[in-house]
Symmetry: C2
Subunit: 315 residues, 2 copies
């Protein structure tokens, strides 16, 4: 198996585009339900019918099969709506309805409205059930050798991890919880995941943009497949001195490798990276002039699909 | 007047998105004609009805008011199609139908099909009549001072220039002609527009991605307004030594300024940059950590709209 860069992007940005393939998009959309919040007439996420059906006749929710819409009707502010969502999810967790809820995180993810206001927060493990946009931080750590060549620090996820176990990752990556600022989330994760000190991180890390893609979960994500996960990942670069070595700070990472660009590309082509981490690597290679219009025939499509504009509001 | 970064992006990416605002997009689209090539059943560009109407009963073209489509029917390969397009445009130029053709460039732009094959080439000044995707290169040249701060070289376009006269520009920018490779086009433009030597350019220029946006031309572009111009601009960074000073190589540039980031931001907010050059500057600031999720509330929308995926095929 040798995957192209476009194959790798397609595997993380799998939801069809309305204007590029209108009939496929319409057909795909017609099989889903749309999540809304009462008095906010716009979509917040797409849900599988099998998921939406579970909300039939539950308190706080209104399911309309005609318009294929699930609406959260309870609550007039974020606190009230979040409480209603939490109550529903606690009940669903207990009944064992959804496998994704077995990995309950006790961590809240934000869902924003068109005015960038917080509409409600939702338990992290449940966010793909609703198909709402989630937010994270991803950092690429690298060293520059004497000849100017780059080597990149690549961790391997613990093989015991339920999600993407044994796959390759970015040096630091994590989700942004409700109320947390992106950069502060990154600083915390740098300590937890790579044992990188706060002072070094604040001084050396460079904010370089974000990638956005519409992921459709497969079996590697764990739990139900086909759940939709539109994601925003804020992207950071960190050039490390040669004497700073990232070390796993918890049991989620097995080992860090220090690889040349060519080595990273080989592992990418073999499909060994977690899908969204492959996307972050490709974005890094584009920004650093290693993937160019001259050596990548799908350059324009790749760049555009790394920065998808969602039909849902974002922060 | 103080323009936000999102205002600046919106002024260069003015065409509505189908999934973000379906009704506006449908209404907008219903007022246009779609350009096609026979046996290639997909859109290549959008045209104003006033432009499409001129092609009624002309040889080589078929105008269908029912489907609002203009189809190039002549030719079975790129050479034959290009010849037919050239013949039509020469005739239209002589009759003085379109103001944009007064700026005839004798330069051909490529139009690609879904297999990335060249479908035909079209005289540069005519490309906005057809609304086809055009390609260019934009370079930001900067110097790093002793304290690590950046200063950016910004040219002012000659006030006598018919298009965007007197506005601020990127250090080097130009269109990519049919058959030309992006980087070679950049090398040529660096010499012509900023007197930067080929050796320095090949050694120091970094390819850093591309921006893509859907521009709707206003009066500053010259010629007819409302013409559609979806564009791909390959983006390059060049860190210059302090002793290399870009100099206008032709009469298109009046003067080069060396400005701090803050100075550039002030001129951006005053709307003094050519619209797509403002977009390149904003992309630069994002990649260099000067516009961040923390200081720009519209960060995600800006990044996505700088990398639009078109409904038309691209290279």
């Amino acid at each position: 198996m040798s995957l192209s860069n476009l194959d790798l992007i397609a595997s993380v940005d799998g939801f069809p585009y309305p204007h590029v393939n209108p009939s496929l998009h319409a057909a795909t959309l017609s099989t889903y339900y749309t999540l809304r919040v009462a008095s906010h007439p716009y979509p917040l996420g797409y849900m599988l019918p099998s998921v939406a059906a579970v909300f039939l006749n539950t308190p706080y929710w209104s399911l309309d099969d005609e318009s294929r819409t699930l609406t959260l009707t309870e609550g007039t502010d974020a606190a009230e709506r979040s409480a209603a969502v939490a109550t529903t999810l606690e009940a669903l967790r207990k009944t064992g309805h959804f496998k994704v809820l077995d990995k309950w995180r006790n961590e809240l993810y934000p869902v924003y409205g068109q005015g960038k206001e917080l509409l409600f927060s939702v338990e992290r493990s449940a966010s793909p059930l609703f198909g709402v946009v989630t937010y994270g931080v991803h950092l690429t750590a690298y060293v520059r050798d004497a000849s100017g060549g780059l080597k990149i620090w690549i961790p391997r996820r613990a093989r015991t991890k339920q999600t993407y176990g044994g796959m390759l990752d970015n040096a630091v990556a994590g989700g942004i919880a409700s109320g947390e600022a992106a950069f502060e989330s990154l600083v915390r994760e740098c300590g937890e995941e790579a044992s990188l000190g706060e002072e070094l991180v604040r001084k050396r890390v460079k904010t370089v943009g974000c990638i956005t893609y519409f992921y459709v979960r497969d079996e590697r994500a764990g739990g139900e497949t086909g759940l939709m996960q539109p994601e925003v990942e804020y992207v950071y670069d960190l050039e490390l001195p040669e004497d700073v070595v990232p070390k796993p700070g918890d049991d989620e990472v097995e080992e860090f490798y220090l690889w040349t660009v060519e080595e990273v590309k080989e592992h990418l082509a073999r499909g060994e990276f977690k899908p969204n981490c492959a996307a972050v690597m490709i974005d890094f290679f584009i920004r650093h002039g290693m993937i160019t219009p001259e050596n990548e025939k799908d350059f324009i499509e790749i760049v555009a699909r790394l920065h998808r504009r969602f039909e849902f509001p974002t922060l």
